[in-house]
């Protein structure tokens, strides 16, 4: 089958259009698929410039490869300038191009009332205390002593919760009248623990998993009370208050947020909030509170445990020095 040739001039024009389309619409469309965010990621203007320049260079190489190629490329242009497509069309073309140039110059230099762009570093490290780097969440990895204490409480059916949750648990106890308070949890590790208590032989590993379950439940409750309004039930940064802040609450389910930082960093950010940020992270736009003024360390760690769990993320492992 013979395909019609369109000539190297139109090939060049078409290539430029396609590359522009790919960068302008293709990349954002693909970004939605990759990130699963509800909005596309925009392509920065400098990147667009870069791609277009590379394309132009490639096209220039193609065109100037040989005299024949150059002639082939220039043929439609010369035909136009000679009036081969009609004198009126030539006149219109010769007028339209300088008009376009003049308009472009005007558009580029005219002062515009658009909000000044402030570049922001999301995870600044300039004032992050090195001592916090290796902090571990004590409620994510309880010590042997803590597990042992929990086993004793569980055996005596005296497991207690943070006060924020205790009241509702008590209500449930009165109504449901269970044999053991941990029957609240329907999960496998807790069921296993309760069976082991009954059998009189409790494995620390089972107790540890059940303790984690309890910590998580408390953490989720504290998250719902304190963080949900902005960061949302989904932890996607879309709580009922989120739209009111120009710098939107962070989306924890995004791959570039809490997964890329160590727990100690999260703890430091939760404690010091917006006002604790260095200048490069635009602290004046951040609505993140200084939680150390309201929440205890235990509450903050339990919230962080729940935050990672709800977002289905794990913190970055601190590098060993």
């Amino acid at each position: 089958m013979k395909t019609p040739r369109i000539g190297s001039f139109w090939t060049a024009v078409l290539t430029l259009l396609i590359v522009y389309g790919l960068v302008k619409w293709g990349i954002p469309a693909v970004s939605r698929e990759v990130t699963t965010l509800p909005f596309p990621l925009p392509v920065p203007g400098t990147l667009m410039f870069f791609y277009m320049m590379l394309t132009l260079i490639a096209l220039f190489l193609m065109i100037s490869f040989s005299d024949e190629a150059l002639d082939d490329f220039l043929r439609p242009i010369k035909k136009l300038l000679r009036g081969g497509y009609g004198k009126a069309f030539r006149a219109a073309f010769l007028l339209a191009v300088p008009l376009l140039a003049g308009w472009q110059v005007y558009e580029t230099i005219v002062p515009r009332a658009e909000a000044p762009v402030s570049l922001r570093i999301q995870h600044p490290s300039s004032n992050f205390p090195k001592s916090s780097e290796a902090l571990k969440n004590p409620f994510a990895s309880p010590t042997e002593a803590q597990v042992a204490a929990f086993i004793e409480q569980a055996k005596a059916n005296e497991v207690t919760f943070v006060p924020q949750v205790q009241e509702d648990v008590d209500n449930w106890m009165n109504e449901a009248d269970p044999d053991h308070v941990l029957e609240l949890f329907a999960s496998a590790p807790v069921k296993k623990l309760l069976a082991q208590i009954k059998a009189g032989k409790v494995e620390p590993e089972t107790a540890k998993a059940a303790l984690l379950e309890k910590n998580l439940f408390e953490g989720r409750a504290l998250y719902a009370m304190n963080c949900r309004a902005c960061h949302g039930d989904s932890t996607a940064g879309d709580g009922p208050m989120a739209d009111g802040f120009k710098l939107r609450p962070i989306n924890f389910t995004d791959n570039g947020t809490i997964e890329t930082i160590v727990e100690g960093y999260t703890f430091w950010r939760v404690a010091n909030g917006g006002p604790g940020l260095p200048v490069e992270a635009t602290p004046w736009d951040s609505a993140m509170p200084e939680w150390k003024l309201s929440l205890t360390e235990e509450e903050r760690w339990k919230i962080i445990l729940a935050e990672y769990n709800l977002a289905q993320k794990t913190p970055r492992i601190p590098e060993s020095h």
Binding site: M1, T3, I18, L22, G26, P38, K78, L81, R82, R90, V97, P98, A101, G102, Q104, V105, Y106, I109, V110, P111, A113, A115, Q164, E167, D168, W172, L184, A186, R220, A221, M225, N226, A229, S234, T235, A236, D238, G239, P240, M241, D243, G244, F245, K246, L247, T253, G273, G274, P275, T282, P283, W284, D285, A287, P289, K292, L293, S294, T296, L310
Partner: protein, 549 residues
């Protein structure tokens, strides 16, 4: 271009088009299949989901008394009552399974109930999980166990007719008649702003009954589309004064009314910069002056003040519309926001002292929705404040949007409805260096702002005016052609708001337009001439080549 390559390009184009389409696919608020049989195991799985995702608001007993519930208005649903607001069943009936599925999937905008659809969120609930949790929720109310009360079996379902008429001006006009006939305005107000009731009513739990402001579609709980609106007045909203209009209005009237309500919905602007235009002559003092229509508007979104104790997540003012005009000497702002009640009294002795909740390890640092602060008429004033940095930012650095900081103070223009009602000077200029201290009022001779306000049909409209520059070093100074950060604080008195119990916006900008410098035109014309000349030269050269050859 050779064939195979061309095909490749076509392939990519098609793939891109498909991708773009995939991105717009709506999340499913309709289940792909009806609710599976609620076996013991199925319900127990639902209990697990409920414990981890729902119980913190709705309570372990489903009574709407979870640990986070006290701080929320609207309060989380008490499932034990068997009363559900948003249904497709007749007034007073139970919801269908699909109704519950819709609410869990879509959430209720304007409340703490968010969408739990796993098509929308990575960690949302799958369709099966949603059905499991619904099966569990249904165990809380006895009513669901009675087969006689099943709205599907007893034929009490309201089906949406498929003959929705197209949106036309005639239909909207007909809807206006229906609006009058059904006396919608007696609650919702003539303009739909929820200001029809002069009385401040509370429900059985002491919560204010909020009449929906139907002009704000983003807060309409069960959806803002014509079909959703049609369904609401066909089913009524159980547990509220909103009745069903099935008996008093025929289908055509209901479609017309739904379209009329839809026509009320406000379109927000998205600009972050308020462009103030130069104005010849005097600036308008009155908020009703028609001159304001010539000024560009900027909508500012507000959130509850949740940054420091006392935290408040039930703000009533979430949108403020600002316009600005200036002349050679002065600048004037007009600030508008919806508020169904005009609160012009302020009782300082009723103000909340947040000492107990402002400590580390307090049970909660949020203000309870009911009981901690009085919510009702005749207690606190309505008020608004514009906030500017005193020193204009160097680069992007500015004071914190929440009242600045110790080293960078902000200038606040506060307008108070109680002073206005008493005929006193209603504007107060003050400064703040962070939220820890109250706003410090400026000296009497440094108070240059004048203000005028009007409340009409559920909307405040306030004008504040000041000279562009003042001799006061604690004042913001306005010059042309720069971006001046601006934000707002807002208080709705009858919602219990005062002090830091308020709503606030982030930084936006106001920009006083300067005339375009003449150089810009010169450069543009120059570019035109150079490129034009080049074109003519090339033309001549090509023609010469032709004659030569």
């Amino acid at each position: 271009m050779p064939g195979p390559l061309k095909n490749k390009f076509m392939g990519i184009a098609v793939a891109l088009a498909l991708l773009a389409y995939a991105g717009t696919v709506q999340a499913a608020s309709k289940p792909s299949q009806p609710m599976p049989e609620a076996t013991e195991d199925f319900v127990e799985k639902g209990r697990g989901v409920y414990l981890g995702r729902c119980s913190f608001c709705h309570g372990l007993l489903g009574d709407g008394e979870g640990p986070a519930a006290k701080y929320l208005d609207p309060r989380p649903r008490d499932f034990t009552l068997g009363t559900f607001k948003f249904r497709t069943t007749q007034s007073g009936q139970l919801p269908t399974d699909a109704d519950l599925f819709r609410t869990v999937s879509r959430g209720l905008p304007g409340t703490a109930m968010q969408s739990f659809d796993s098509d929308l969120f990575k960690n949302g609930l799958s369709e099966t999980e949603r059905w499991q949790v619904i099966a569990y929720i249904k165990t809380f109310a006895q009513e669901f166990k009675d087969p006689e009360l099943d709205p599907v079996k007893s034929g009490k379902v309201v089906t949406l007719p498929s003959n929705r008429p197209p949106y036309t001006p005639e239909l909207v006009a007909k809807g206006k008649e229906a609006f009058k006939k059904a006396k919608c305005s007696s609650c919702h107000g003539m303009l739909g702003r929820g200001d029809g009731n002069k009385e401040f009513r509370k429900d059985d739990w002491g919560f204010p009954i909020r009449i929906r402001n139907v002009t704000h579609p983003w807060k309409i709980k069960a959806g803002s589309e014509v079909e959703d609106i049609y369904m609401r007045f066909s089913t009524g909203i159980n547990g509220t004064p909103m009745p069903s209009f099935v008996k008093s209005m025929n289908e055509d009237e209901r479609w017309a009314l739904a379209n009329y309500i839809k026509s009320f919905q406000y379109q927000r602007t998205a600009n972050q910069v308020l462009k103030a235009k130069p104005h010849d002559g005097g600036l308008p003092d009155s908020p009703e002056d028609a001159t304001w229509d010539q000024a560009e508007r900027m909508d500012m979104r507000l959130a509850g003040q949740v940054i420091s104790a006392p935290r408040w997540q039930n703000p009533s003012i979430e949108l403020v519309t600002v316009r600005a005009l200036f002349n050679d000497t002065d600048i004037a702002f007009r600030i508008e926001w919806d508020d169904p009640f005009k609160d012009t009294v302020h009782k300082s002795d009723k103000e909340f002292k947040p000492t107990a909740i402002a400590k580390v390890g307090a049970f909660s640092s949020y203000v309870e929705a009911n009981g901690m602060v009085p919510r009702g008429l005749e207690t606190f004033r309505d008020s608004i404040a514009l906030q500017f940095p005193v020193k204009q930012p160097d680069g992007t650095k500015k004071p914190h949007f929440y009242r600045g900081g110790s080293s960078d103070q902000v200038h606040l223009w506060v307008w108070k409805a109680d002073l206005d009602a008493k005929g006193e000077k209603a504007t107060e200029e003050g400064n703040a260096r962070g939220w820890k201290q109250a706003i410090k009022a400026q000296a009497k001779d440094a108070q240059q702002i004048t203000g005028k306000a009007k409340w009409d049909q559920g909307r405040w409209s306030v004008v504040m005016k000041r000279p562009l520059s003042t001799p006061d070093k604690n004042d913001v100074q306005f010059s042309k052609g720069i971006f001046i950060p601006m934000s707002v604080n807002a208080w709705d008195g009858s919602n219990g708001e005062h002090g830091l119990i308020m709503s606030l916006s982030s930084w936006h900008y106001v920009f006083l337009e300067a005339p375009t410098p003449i150089g810009i035109y010169i450069y543009s014309v120059l570019a035109f001439l150079i490129i034009g000349g080049l074109g003519l030269w090339l033309k001549r050269k090509t023609e010469q080549e032709e004659t030569l050859s």
